[in-house]
């Protein structure tokens, strides 16, 4: 994948994108701050969320097996997928078995992660995204750029133009109501025709085999209730032990993500119910690198993520580069730690460095993932894994390590550096082109602190 600095450079040149992002992230950020501020027990809720997730991950194997048998007891079918390819093969097989040529989808990051839509297209099946923002991305031939607000990079004028062209509505206005109505008319027909619905899951309850989807538009509920067959893709980290645990997460999630006290639609279903909803229900439990993440004692907390996207909205890097620069369906700070762990540091090794370590993400995380700590931990792994290479950076770091190895060496280096003092404030130094493109270097001081100390004490 393209390295973050390279991808970010392209994104930063897009002034419209930066304006759209600034407006959107600032709005969500302040909504979140308001509704979080209403809760005097917010920190206790976070502690509870963290504890439940930690417990679930510690005994994940047991909870998965418990979940499997609960789903089976409720008339559902459970499939285990080691990686994306296996998951796609299972899902394509299920859709083909129902002879559907078009399916409807609930907004789902996990299905985006495995590239399900492409796999379905390869088998001649059209996947219709029914979340308004996902639909906008799909019609525009783009990937989502935000976990919760996939089309955050677009403003309503851009969406109007897209709908005018793709949905063939020539006189559409840019009013949000008009845009939503146009999408609704288009989607209603799809819901009524589809025989297969595909969803992800926000939570999967081990105790009962219940699956939970949290959404705003109600389109997800159409997808999970109207079609004859429902396929739900669940990353194995989505397990929570008991139904009671949802009490905590259904408070943490909407306040952290959309800045609402409660989201409009929370759907819970358990297996199949004769005469109500789908007649066939399949769950695909997906690993796709997650057990590797679990093996890293520091990195594993990443799996506690409930995909609220609060960390994106407060991130000074994300709010300037947008989501595409992260080269994954998981952008922002959480993406910077999740993607390299799922795909490997060799492929996504630039992502842990895509942060100034300002800590804003950790402060808002509803399950208290220490993102800066995981970032520096992964940086250590990146350096460790490439120790053999003689990169210029390594030489500089070694040299600095040696300079700081003792005061005598440090004094010598400082004396050497002072020869630069005659230049005053420099605008350029070899090797520091990245710095000096927008910043001058400080003038070299005429004396060192050590010299002052010695002559004054």
């Amino acid at each position: 994948m393209t390295s973050f600095p390279q991808a970010a450079r392209v994104a930063l040149r897009d002034g419209q994108l930066r304006d759209n992002l600034r407006v959107a992230t600032t709005t969500i950020r302040s909504k979140r701050a308001t509704v979080v501020g209403e809760r005097s027990d917010w920190q206790e809720l976070r502690d509870a969320g963290e504890a439940i997730k930690r417990r679930a991950l510690r005994q994940l194997e047991d909870y998965l097996v418990q979940f499997e048998s609960a789903v089976q007891n409720a008339g559902g079918v459970v499939h285990w997928a080691r990686h994306a390819e296996e998951a796609n093969r299972i899902i394509v097989g299920l859709v083909l078995a129902s002879s559907a040529s078009e399916i409807v989808k609930v907004k789902s990051l996990t299905t985006d992660e495995i590239g399900l839509n492409d796999a379905l297209a390869g088998a001649g099946i059209t996947a219709i995204e029914t979340d308004l923002a996902e639909l906008i991305c799909q019609l525009g031939g783009e990937r989502p750029s935000h976990i919760l607000v996939p089309a955050i990079h677009k403003n309503r004028f851009e969406i109007r133009d897209l709908f005018r062209e793709k949905l063939r509505i020539p006189y559409l206005s840019e009013e949000p109501v008009a845009l939503a109505s146009a999408a609704r008319a288009y989607l209603r027909e799809r819901f009524l025709e589809a025989s297969v619905g595909i969803s992800g899951a926000n939570f999967a309850v081990a105790e009962t085999g219940t699956v939970c989807v949290v959404e705003s538009e109600g389109n997800g509920r159409f997808c999970t209730t109207l079609p004859r067959t429902l396929v739900t893709v669940v990353g194995i980290e989505k397990l929570v032990p008991t139904l009671e645990d949802l009490e905590v997460f259904l408070q943490l999630l909407p306040r952290s993500s959309t800045g609402e006290r409660m989201n409009p639609y929370t759907s819970l279903w358990t297996g199949v119910t004769p005469g109500d909803g789908p007649r066939e229900f399949h769950v695909v439990l997906l690993d796709n690198g997650r057990t590797d993440v679990l093996a890293d004692e520091i990195g594993r907390q990443t799996l506690a993520c409930i995909r609220c996207s609060a960390c994106l909205n407060v991130c000074p890097v994300y709010s300037r580069t947008g989501g595409f620069a992260y080269g994954s369906v998981y952008p922002g700070p959480i993406g910077a730690i999740l993607t390299p762990q799922l795909r490997g540091l060799g492929e996504a090794g630039s992502l842990p460095f895509a942060s100034s370590l300002c800590g804003a993400c950790a402060e808002v995380c509803p399950v208290k993932i220490d993102i800066p700590k995981v970032l520096v931990h992964l940086r250590g792994r990146v350096v460790q894994e490439s120790r053999a290479k003689a990169a210029p950076e390594r030489l500089v770091m070694r040299a600095l390590g040696s300079v700081f190895g003792g005061p005598t060496r440090l004094r010598f280096a400082q004396a050497l550096r002072k020869t630069f003092a005659v230049f005053g404030r420099s605008r350029w130094l070899p090797g520091l082109g990245g710095w000096t493109r927008s910043r001058d270097l400080p003038p070299m001081p005429e004396y060192t602190f050590r010299e002052w100390w010695r002559s004054n004490r």
């Binding site: 600095p5 460095f353 804003a360 390590g401 004396y447 602190f449 002052w452």
Partner: protein
């Protein structure tokens, strides 16, 4: 790089009646190495730090990010290395390492008797805000300075974009973050930007100089140490 900050910190502490020592054997806390992924090198520097300052009653550092490194990440380094003795030493030392304004507030000083008749904007650095939770301690110290006018800085708690090697590895993103910080500083009408980390001030100062905004950067210690006009 910024000797005046250290000098000011010493002068300020001595003026307040504290005996200051500067152990010559000290070098660097290792944050630069650690944040760039060079944990082995950082570990060596952590060992040195712990050894050099083992007998200090209180270690005062005029840098929030260095203190955060010691407090938040020395334990991690010791744990990763499986060095129980180091972990123990870190645990006992870390609580005696204080950022300068943190120390002043802890000993109950708010008015340090400084005079600085200028318009100052205070930039709360990320580590001072989110790692050390200094809150409004630095602002309280500034407000007590004779003649100083503290002006508001818009979106003050947003990162300036420095982030150590981030500023070079991700120079474009870092510069975009800095640009917004510089806009806020220009809007504030300040003559001086103050902060408790020289690293962030190097980033901001470099940007101010390039833009020719005519605003100076000063470490908080330098303002608090000033008696007359500066």
């Amino acid at each position: 790089m910024f000797p005046k900050t250290g000098v000011a910190a010493v002068q300020l502490l001595e003026r307040l009646g504290y005996r200051v020592d500067f152990p010559q054997a000290q070098t660097c806390c290792g944050q630069l190495h650690f944040n760039t992924g060079y944990q082995k090198e950082a570990l060596e520097l952590a060992r040195r730090f712990v050894r050099v300052f083992a007998n200090a009653e209180v270690v005062v550092a005029p840098s929030a990010s260095c203190v955060a490194m010691i407090r938040d990440f020395y334990p991690y380094l010791a744990e990763q290395d499986g060095d129980a003795a180091l972990a123990e030493d870190v645990a006992s030392l870390a609580q005696r390492v204080l950022e300068l304004t943190e120390f002043l507030v802890r000993v109950g000083v708010e008015d340090v008797g400084a005079t600085f008749p200028h318009r100052v904007a205070y930039h709360p650095t990320c580590h001072s805000l989110r790692a050390l939770h200094l809150g409004d301690a630095p602002r309280r110290l500034l407000r007590a300075v004779n003649g100083l006018e503290l002006v508001d800085l818009a979106r003050a708690d947003e990162c300036c974009g420095f982030g150590g090697t981030f500023a070079v590895k991700n120079a474009d993103t870092s510069s975009a973050m800095l640009a917004d910080k510089l806009d806020a500083i220009a809007e504030s009408g300040a003559e001086v930007v103050a902060a408790v980390d020289t690293s962030c001030l190097m980033q901001i100062g470099g940007g101010l100089s390039r833009r020719g905004l005519g605003v100076r950067t000063l470490h908080l210690a330098e303002i608090l140490a000033t008696r007359g006009s500066a």
